[in-house]
Amino acid sequence: MYLNAWLAWSPEIVLTLAWAGMLVCGALWPRTHPYMRHATLAALLIALGLAGLVAANAHSLYGLYFSEAAKLDSVTTFGRLLFGSAGVLVVLASWDVHGEENAVEFFGLFVLSLLGEVVIVSGQNLLMLFLGIELLALPTYALIAIHKTRARAIAAGLKYFLLGMFASVVMLYGMALLYGSLGTISYVHALFPDPSHLSAARLGVLQFAFFFLILGLGFKVTAFPFHFWSPDVYAGGSTQVVAYISTVPKVAIMLAIFRILGPAFSTGYPIAKWFLIAIAVLSMVYGNIVALMQDDVRRMLAYSGVANTGYMLIAIIAGGADSQAALLFFLVVYTFGNLGAFFVVLGMGEDRHITIGDFDGLARRYPVLALAMGCFLFSLAGTPPLAGFFGKFALFKSAVAHGLPLLALVGLVTTVISVGYYLKIASNMYGDLVQRDLPEGRAIERIPVPLRIALVLAVTATLVTGVLGIPLFLGAL
């Protein structure tokens, strides 16, 4: 059993050792600083390989560990692989942009926050969830402001930190109330029992506990109305870090929400269910409409993130195995699409606001970059035959299957709205192929090779998931 535990959690052990090693080496030998990125990349690749090995031996290694505090199952493996891959892309994107004095902090904190995400996904009780969230969040507060000389980044980091703490405290309060009313914090079995076993007073407390819990979690996944920090932080923070926090943490917490809300939730707790429905609808409507108004691309992507959270929540509200499959698929699509879009923005330079106007005529001057951006945008917009289309289709399908046709309809209508802003960029990029008199966009410095690799990988992932999505799509039909 001991050996099994070591094997089962070897990817996390490798990452922890890498983190500790980087910290020690960085402190003792300053000359190792330029190699921190290599170490991180190697550790991530090893961890990914180990995660694959663990998944291959699922029958002997899957199960509950650490007094039922953590669970190794297909969802955990999914998380490991997705976080690891995204991590590799982020490391590649961050290859050149950090001064050597920041390297230890940057890569060390980054690995630490990845570990936090695995804790969130594998955790089986609220304590693990909270620990994971803090482990994930604390490094990101610092990472956002890693450019110490840039006032905008520091303001963004501080804002993120203050609001993040506020949300954490409220969430912790909700968890305490949950423990008080349920007597347990474990969700190995369902956290929310059949409500008929609970007294009215406990149900009353439970309502508020749920509200506070969702406030805290909603903050991290940028669900309306807990999203207000995201446009400001996205616009001010370091772009590669923003790319990271807009995707991976969101995925981790979505998976955790799915784990927490057991099967009894969708039938037994109408208030909680309607609360989530309201949040989902408002996120989709608000995110998409406000995104339309944005000129700053990072802000636009922030609102698009709010809207995508709404889509993800559809799967959570619907519940059930098919919804879970749809959610996992959509998460992959979203992760690579969003990462890629931010990488393109990063490639265009991050010393100032990147506006939609900057994309004017991009296709003529940088055809490959424009193609990549188009690929990500169309995927996010959900245009067939790219991955996003299948993802959204599966989500809406699961909503209809679980008796939520109106929710699916809202999703559909808002998707149509969202095409407006994604396409605005696309039309700017390709506009001057049609019309010659459009103004010239900004010039771009040479894009570093690692970032190029990251972009290529992201495009590949988007296309491959699209192809993989076809059977899912056909199966759903």
Partner: protein, 683 residues
Amino acid sequence: MPVALTAALVPILPAAAFVLLVVFGRRLGERSGWVAIGALAGSLACAVVLLVRALSAEGEPVVHATFRWATIGRFGLDFGVYVDGLSASVLLMVAIVALMVFVYATGYMHGDPRYPWFFAVFSLFTCSMFALVTSANLLQLMVFWEVMGLCSYLLIGFWFEREEARRASIKAFLTTRVGDMGFLLGVVVLLARVGTLDIPVLMRAGETTARPVLLIACLLLFCGAVGKSAQFPLHIWLPDAMAGPTPVSGLLHSATMVAAGVFLVARMYPVFEVSGALPFVAGAGIASAVFGASLALTETDIKRTLAYSTMSQLGYMMAALGMGGYVAAVFHLITHGFFKSLLFLSAGSVIHGSETQDVREMGGLAKTMKITSIVYLVGALALAGIPPLAGFFSKDAILVSMWAPDAKVATQALGHPLFFAALATAMLTAFYMFRQYFMVFTGPEQRHAHESPRAMLVPMVVLAVLTSVAGAINLPGLFPKLGELLVPGEVENALWWLMLLSASAAATGVYIAWEQNRSRLEGAHDRNGTFGLERVYGSVFIQPVFAVSDFLRRLNIDDIVQRTVLDPVVATSDFLRRMDIDVVYMAVFVRLTSALAEGLSRVDVYVIDGAVNLIGRAGLRIAAALRLVDIRAIDGGVNAVGGGTAAIGGWLKRLQTGVVANYALFMLLFGIIIFYVAKGLAR
């Protein structure tokens, strides 16, 4: 009139006066004082009725009427009135003293801009003491205990324009609060282990509950009493509380606030008796008695000297309670109520007339303030314990209880050291009181003074008469009426030699003060002087005592207590404040209002002025969209939808203010709105 109603009326009348004065105070002006006095006179009449009933009740409670206030689980909370011999006698004393102080205050507060408010809070203050004394339930008692704390805060800080008064009020409130924490915990322990807070049931708790539990509960309750009765080490608020108007000091130091702590112990006395907490009470009491008297020796502020003497006298009462001298303690509580209020009112009159509080700047006031000087002398004699004034008999009873302690609670081995400490304190008390008396009223006139108005003098004279005769309520051996009322069937024995001893101790104190005063005055005239008797006294007796007092002052125990007890409390509150609860309130209430206002104004702009603009802007958007359709022809319909929603987006965009506090507010506010909408949808 049913007797329960009589008992209930005692606190209700001043409460009604409070409400009346808060509502109509401004219109009533200076007549509001007489409204409060009228209510109090009614209370006094009721208290007299209750005492008469109690005298014929043979130890049975006069009233015990309750109603069910709340049911929490299996625990029922009964509120009501409970009056027995103890409550009736204390009630009458409080009513008399309060009435006198109120009459005095009409003169003292004359012309104050917040006159009605003063009498309103003063009425509530008195009301809470009445309600506390008549409580049938310990929780009810605690509620009024807290109300009294609040009133004391308001009254001490009545002249809140003065920094000193503001600080003193906060200090008093916080210091007593430290003790109140213990009180609260004690109540919780009693509730948890005895299962009820009904005072009559609690008094028999010794039969059912384990002794260690009761010991813990009693010690915790005693913490509350230590805070309220200004016992060492929570006495530090008392001298500062002088910053309030003198009538406040007069009431706070005699019949209400400080009396509440002693009353609490007396009320729960049967429990204290079986719990084994009494030796602690005795220890804390005698420590306060000696300590207070020592500090009073070198104090030069007339009111602060009296404040330390209050601490000292309350220490006497606590020590007596601790030695089983229940009757003696209550007796002293009552007589002390009379003569201490008299002393404070007289001191107020002196301050009023001479416009200083420093005794070194006074002198020879007996010539100009004849009546004040006489009544002050009566009060000082009573406090010093000179027969036949009230203080003599009650102090003597306390000394008896120490010499021959109740065998159930203490031994003679414990009693005798206490006895001698108390005797020495009695001598110190006589000394500092008369030192003060001589400095203020005799010798050469230092400044021009005038006698106070009649509204102030009349209550002083009444209290002086009461101080002279109040000893008669419990003449040992001859007329032990109070003893019969409190503990029927128990005969107090008189120790004549002890009376003689205590009287001569007091007389010695007075004599030393006189000698010292004489040498002081002569020293002022002739620095060389003669080597007389006073010098011998000076070097042998007074100097060491003064040195001790001075040492204690230099030790600055107040400061130590302040730093170890009070500052952490302040720091905690400061921390809580820093937690920015204010900011949250601010964010929720103030911002909400201003945001609403702003929103409305924006609607105004949009609806009235901007309607045309809006249409124009939407047209532009559509044109832009059409351009896209024209040029790209990719998905025109999509962009048309986008353009139409753009106008709404423009408004929504404004939510993104960039201010962190706004975001936190929006999160909560919108979250709550959505939550309640969801709740509605779920129905």
